[in-house]
Symmetry: C3
Subunit: 369 residues, 3 copies
Amino acid sequence: MTQAPPALPIWDEFPHVLHTHQFSAEALEVLVQHTQAFEKAFAKRQPLPRKSRKRPWLVKLMFFEASTRTEDTSWLAAHRLHMRVRTIPHPQTFSSAAKGESLTDAIAALTRVGGLGEMRAADCLVIRHKDEGSASLAAKVVDTANGDGEIKLPLPVINAGDGTGQHPTQSFVDLYTIHQERRNGNHPLENITVLFSGDLKRGRTVNSLLYLLGKFGERHTIRVLFSTHSELGPKQDILQYLARHRIHYEFVPEFPNAIPQADVIYMTRIQRERSDGANYTTLDRGRYVFRKEYLSHLKTGAFVMHPLPINRDPEDPPAEIDDELTPLALKKDPRCAWFRQSHRGVPVRAALFDIIFAHIDAMIKKQTA
Amino acid sequence: MTQAPPALPIWDEFPHVLHTHQFSAEALEVLVQHTQAFEKAFAKRQPLPRKSRKRPWLVKLMFFEASTRTEDTSWLAAHRLHMRVRTIPHPQTFSSAAKGESLTDAIAALTRVGGLGEMRAADCLVIRHKDEGSASLAAKVVDTANGDGEIKLPLPVINAGDGTGQHPTQSFVDLYTIHQERRNGNHPLENITVLFSGDLKRGRTVNSLLYLLGKFGERHTIRVLFSTHSELGPKQDILQYLARHRIHYEFVPEFPNAIPQADVIYMTRIQRERSDGANYTTLDRGRYVFRKEYLSHLKTGAFVMHPLPINRDPEDPPAEIDDELTPLALKKDPRCAWFRQSHRGVPVRAALFDIIFAHIDAMIKKQTA
Amino acid sequence: MTQAPPALPIWDEFPHVLHTHQFSAEALEVLVQHTQAFEKAFAKRQPLPRKSRKRPWLVKLMFFEASTRTEDTSWLAAHRLHMRVRTIPHPQTFSSAAKGESLTDAIAALTRVGGLGEMRAADCLVIRHKDEGSASLAAKVVDTANGDGEIKLPLPVINAGDGTGQHPTQSFVDLYTIHQERRNGNHPLENITVLFSGDLKRGRTVNSLLYLLGKFGERHTIRVLFSTHSELGPKQDILQYLARHRIHYEFVPEFPNAIPQADVIYMTRIQRERSDGANYTTLDRGRYVFRKEYLSHLKTGAFVMHPLPINRDPEDPPAEIDDELTPLALKKDPRCAWFRQSHRGVPVRAALFDIIFAHIDAMIKKQTA
């Protein structure tokens, strides 16, 4: 299955994955199809054919901020591809924080950029960091090493969340989930209405998914609804972007009014750790909770997504998705898609690694020809 | 050696390891014998014959509370069996704590229960968590996935310590140690007197071992002595359990009076991190210290155990086992068994993994037949 | 390449790496040559010939203090040699700290010294700990197991930093860097002037490198300059050692006066985490910053080293090396050697592991002959 690399190159130049802006609708369709092939292969629990890989690629996971699902599914995806994985242990507690090291220096040290030529300390970098733009900075650092007359050995950087910026691979997971869950007898994005609730201001997964939906605005009729606290609405630049890309959007103050209109309901956690606490405590969060009784108001085929984690802190109620729905989600109720969505991180990230390294193989072949 | 799986199934149903209550005396004897075989194989430093294993099993270690020995010996045991090990990095600092995720959601996300059918993110879960009952909750979550009409792929959960609850695999290590260290020319549990000291109220290893000894009350003459601070005595339900299972127990207030009666002296650390600090500081801890001079009062063949760690904090003396005994323990003095006991975590956990996966293999074969 | 083990044994007795004192000039030259061979092999990105290794060695990394580069390059080096690596997860938060375990007990538990004879839980220990002498203590613990009549299976301990003590493998990296970067048409240490700045009192890398240079004092003309705050000068015992070993040293209060005299400028970070805060804040740190304009004052062929991390905390300026030099370092400017120096941790540590295990192989062969 993986012998045949995707027909369409998804990068013009260098295979970094920094923000969703950079991918075309065509490239994203390729990624979805490739992921479908991987999901099938994994479901059979058979080793993948990796005949085209001769090098023992090493993926370095650098999570300067805590991560559960992204870190875990990146590890599993790399592992399934028989790549080696190096997880930097608790980088948030080491140099950068404790000893004042700059991110540039940390990246250089951990990748050996500026080092000994061919001798690389990683073949791919997956990075999460609290600062917006951190992944782009890392990419800039590693690109420095590619202009010095040697054979260019690309070192791709994958943004696994840069503060309140983006989280592009999560939005690939979300897009893929919509493809797999929506059965409308047509293209899954055709005539779709996506309702967003929760923290639309600081939630990087929302940002990333909206930018990504914009890529399909010319091809499909897409409608976006926002229903959340006025303090937590989407940023102006995203709204302008949506308008430019022919995505119709609307604000629906009353959450129950929005639900019956939506094909996909995308819930998110309010990021209290990024908020100025003051606001947070005065929010009437009960207004934007997805409750069990709403299930009966759903359109046929509609379903609820959540990038996880859901806030279920008993000392900070309410949860944004009622815990009464958890048993349904565990039982794979088609309307409760969040655990399946989380699970899809594995095939999506595997497909992405595979495309990246196929791209790099091609680059190397071209240079050494 | 491992081709011949244990003759006796040790689970009727599903191979979780949640508490010591669930195992019969017969099952425990099987585990001891199987461990002896593993210890022999490891001592030769030869690769184990793993012909019966075709699947690359993945064990996931989730330690929401810090662990040294259990985590390390689980890793080594899995590694020795050529299984893949995934250690979730510092889970205690991630979602659950920082973002309010529930344990149910975390387990579902990390196991992909509720996810994509056959595509599993782990084949075995080893979990430590501060809450009593957490491992049973995890087992309940993963069992949900087994009732939905697909082939049942069991996902066993091993309790590696649930707060002040239990720590069953530690008590397997303890039982095995008693088997290996006691040379009475008879069954090692026959006519045995076990003296417990330290934190008998909150010490989960003590709980687990007492429940386990109870399983043998019908077969062997077993006597238990408790010698500790009155505030730290064993809970009522354990005493009732012992009585029901024909284990004779006694309280001996003066520690030196208890020592000459015991075949095994099981020392434990007072868990100040779980205590209401008030009590702790007023305890006259010097009364229940195992001192070097006590060695000469030991019965022939008697020995001292400790699940480790021993408290040797210089700012919080005294240690419950005098540091003067450390050189003897390092030199493998037969009376100082605690380092050997710790070491046995490797063969015990390897034997347990092996039995679990043999059980699962059999389950799968039965379903697909 | 690695089939031919180094001709010269670098240990008389037991292959611990505890401090730089223990190595002779001859031994260090062997290590440098062996590292050169490894660097070449790695640069070709080809698997190493490991025909002489039959045992699956397990290296245990125990970093009780945070580490980035040392931990990472140790991992990579072991990985490149196809050894198995076990990283103890965040040991600084576990038993020793939280539950009062002594380092002796922790080492015994994690190595199974005092345990079950042949059944070892690690074949090599790499340890970093905040206490001076901690690595030597660990070596003492593991040596205990070698006097009990069984076949001696050496368990080498590598000191990866013991508080303000030493960090010998970093100084091997530094020595090797000087060998690779200095092109004087002669032995790289001949007629060399090394300028040290920064924290010469508590910086263990400075300590280690000075002790190591002393080993060459009889063979080469070596001059050392110190230019730093009077409160942060080198300790008396090191100065005496240098004098004894025919190393000429000088104090140069004005940093700009020292620069034009030096072949190697060794900058270090002031270790505020180890300092009594009082002093630190009153230092005029701007006096000892390596600034971009100093490049033009350098001797031909001179270069700047730094063991990293550089302090670039925006809230605690200035950095000891001006950030304007970072782009030059990333572009591999020959005068800015610090990223190459960091990178060399991989071949140096690989060569060291290789020599250690060759030594152990020979010891075993001798015993079993």
